[in-house]
Amino acid sequence: MSNWDVLVMCLRNMFKRKLRTFLTVLGVMVGTAAIVLMISLGLATEAHHQRQMEDAENDMTLIDVHMTWPEGTTWDQMGNPIFPEGTPLLNDAMVDRITSLQGVHFASPRMSGTVFLRADPYYMESWNVVGIRAEAMPFMGLPIAEGRVLQEGDTFAVVFGATAEHAFELLGSTWETRADRQWGWQWQGQEIPTFVDVMNTNMRLSFDRRFVAATDGEQMELTGGIRPIPSYNIEVVGLLAPHEQWGADRQIFMDIEVLLYLQNERLRAEREVQDDWQWLISPIRERPQELFNHVMVRATDVSQTSRVAREIEELGFHTSYAGQWLNMMLEGQRQQQQLLAAIGAISLIIAAIGIANTMIMAVYERTREIGIMKVIGAAIKDIRRLFLLESAMIGFFGGLFGVGLSLIGSYVMNNFDVPFLQGTPMPEWMGVTEVIDPSLVTPWLCGVALLFAAVIGLVSGYFPARRATKLSALAAIRSE
């Protein structure tokens, strides 16, 4: 028989039992649609993940390392921790060791302090300063708006975060007026006025609250006239563009060595101060110089991040990184989707059984026809082709309609809220604000589903077709 004749005869047989064919096709359709939709959820997540990785290449490679405080840690009178023997310490030597790990782009200690700035007649109170190795700043991936980031050799140089420049106040303003400005402007949705052009203003920095709390004369008085409160000229070398990561907007960056030096200066100054003024001193605890509370590490690329983090954890530290969170979330979603895909697969298996059943019934029903065809010259090959093609077509059409159905389903999911499919919302700090389509049906997926459905049809039809070919022609004609 020519292929065309086989096809015509097949279609005729299928149409002869319209309802049964339809129901079998329906089964495959539902099965295919179920599995396609389930996979589409996974694809959507995958695609989203991929996009996120690309968008956030910088952030995804950063790892924050901090110390675990082991059992048996005690504190000295100053509140400094005393660790048990053998505790891995996050010090310079350890930073160097981390730097030497494979897949590490750079590592830098990161510590924060509180500073007070004066750019007369304005001042800035109790502001976060972040100490890092100046040469590491170019690797942090922070976007610069003006000037430059820190570089090797910078000492009393700072880089301002995007909104830090708004924090200047008129000297002598009260807390109430400050609060008015700090919060009031933002409440009203207005732009906060910038009093100081940080890039072009001479500034002095101090760790002592009294530096900004009073006029020069009052300061002399406050310190008992012994000496003026120590302060240092600083140079603003750069201003960052707004950036979500690391809370960089509100921070001021400077070299960690200078920060440590300034902190020591503060401690020395505090020892000179009368006890009466203790309340004025910002409660920063003394810390052994060589011990850092945080080290930031950048992996060479995204794929290395989790491995590097694991190796650092093996050294005895805690790590946290954006990818960790994302991975955990994705893992959860993946598990959920695997469950759904399994349900889809089950419905497809049931559909396959349906095809097999239909074909077996067809063989029974057509036993006599098969016998007649054999007697008048049909080759075994012809009989087999007839049955295999029929089951493959049921699979194919089921797949075709199933893909159609899943496209509709996907559209519905993407355009109407289907609550249980929304998954865990992305945390805001990851900078994800776009609405995520929960379902993604790619042409590739459609093609594979179609092929798969047809193959399932073929496989389901194999045994019935074999049965048909094995029928004795003579016995078949005799059957009524």
Binding site: M1, S2, W4, D5, R12, N13, K16, R368, E369, I372, M373, K374, V375, I376, G377, A378, A379, I380, K381, D382, A473, L474, I477
Partner: protein
């Protein structure tokens, strides 16, 4: 398996010649149908040989047997055995379909064939819309369409009334004669046997007698009014000059069956 062995046929040795019309005559259970089925390649003998144009049929595999039936054999059944989903025309073209003959050609030959059996205007009817006689005509058209060397008819008139029986016999014999094709009819009906050139009587699985039929009948002699005789007028065949010959024992003493279709 502990099955009882029933010997359906034993020590059969017969030769069929091309263009001759044979009748396998016997009561039911005599083994005549079994012989027919073996000749048609539907059953295989446990021992012995069936030679068709010198080739042993029993040694062919399923594919080769399918080819044999496709190329050389036509079949007419008692119960017509038309495919109910196909029209008369499609039923007739089916053997050609299996031979991968182009549709246009198939339809053309089928129309010719249907005309020959007197169904020129009923191409599009399904078997269920045709009478028994008409169905058998379709079946005859189907049997002859692939221009077979031999046509087997298994009780072709068993389901038909007397009058239709005569029509059908005239038709099938007429076509066979016209085309010089061998026709082997299985029947239990003595009257039918009278249409044929040679009557092979089978009883209890063995050949009882082989008779050359001198007075070949046609329906005209049975039914005096020949008004509805649709069969093509064919000359009453003279007795074939190659007289039947029993196959020599073939040197196989053990042979249950030894038939030769020498065409």
């Amino acid at each position: 398996m502990g099955e009882e062995r029933i010997i359906a046929l034993e020590d059969i040795s017969v030769t069929f010649e091309k263009g001759k019309i044979y009748c396998l005559l016997g009561t039911s259970g005599s083994g005549k149908s079994t012989l027919l089925n073996m000749l048609a390649g539907l059953e295989k003998p446990t021992r012995g040989s069936i030679l068709f144009m010198g080739k042993p049929l029993e040694k062919l595999n399923e594919t080769q047997l399918a080819l044999y039936r496709q190329r050389y054999v036509g079949f007419v059944f008692q119960s017509y055995n038309l495919l109910p989903t196909l029209t008369a025309l499609e039923n007739v073209t089916l053997p050609l379909t299996f031979r991968k003959i182009k549709r246009k050609e198939r339809v053309r030959s089928a129309k010719v064939m249907l005309k020959a059996v007197g169904l020129g205007n009923r191409w599009k009817h399904k078997p269920s819309e045709l009478s028994g006689g008409q169905q058998q005509r379709v079946s005859i058209a189907r049997a002859f369409i692939n221009d077979p060397q031999v046509v087997f008819a298994d009780e072709p008139t068993g389901n038909l009334d007397t009058r239709t029986t005569y029509e059908m016999m005239d038709l099938i014999i007429g076509i066979a004669r016209q085309r010089n094709q061998t026709l082997i009819i299985v029947t239990h009906d003595n009257e039918i046997a009278q249409y044929t050139d040679q009557i092979i009587k089978i009883k209890d699985g063995a050949i009882e007698s082989i008779t050359e039929n001198k007075a070949i009948m046609s329906s005209a002699e049975v039914i005096q009014d020949a008004e509805s005789t649709p069969a093509p007028k064919t000359p009453s065949a003279p007795p074939n000059k190659n007289t039947q010959q029993l196959e020599p024992e073939n040197g196989e003493l053990s042979a249950l069956v030894s038939s030769t279709l020498s065409l």
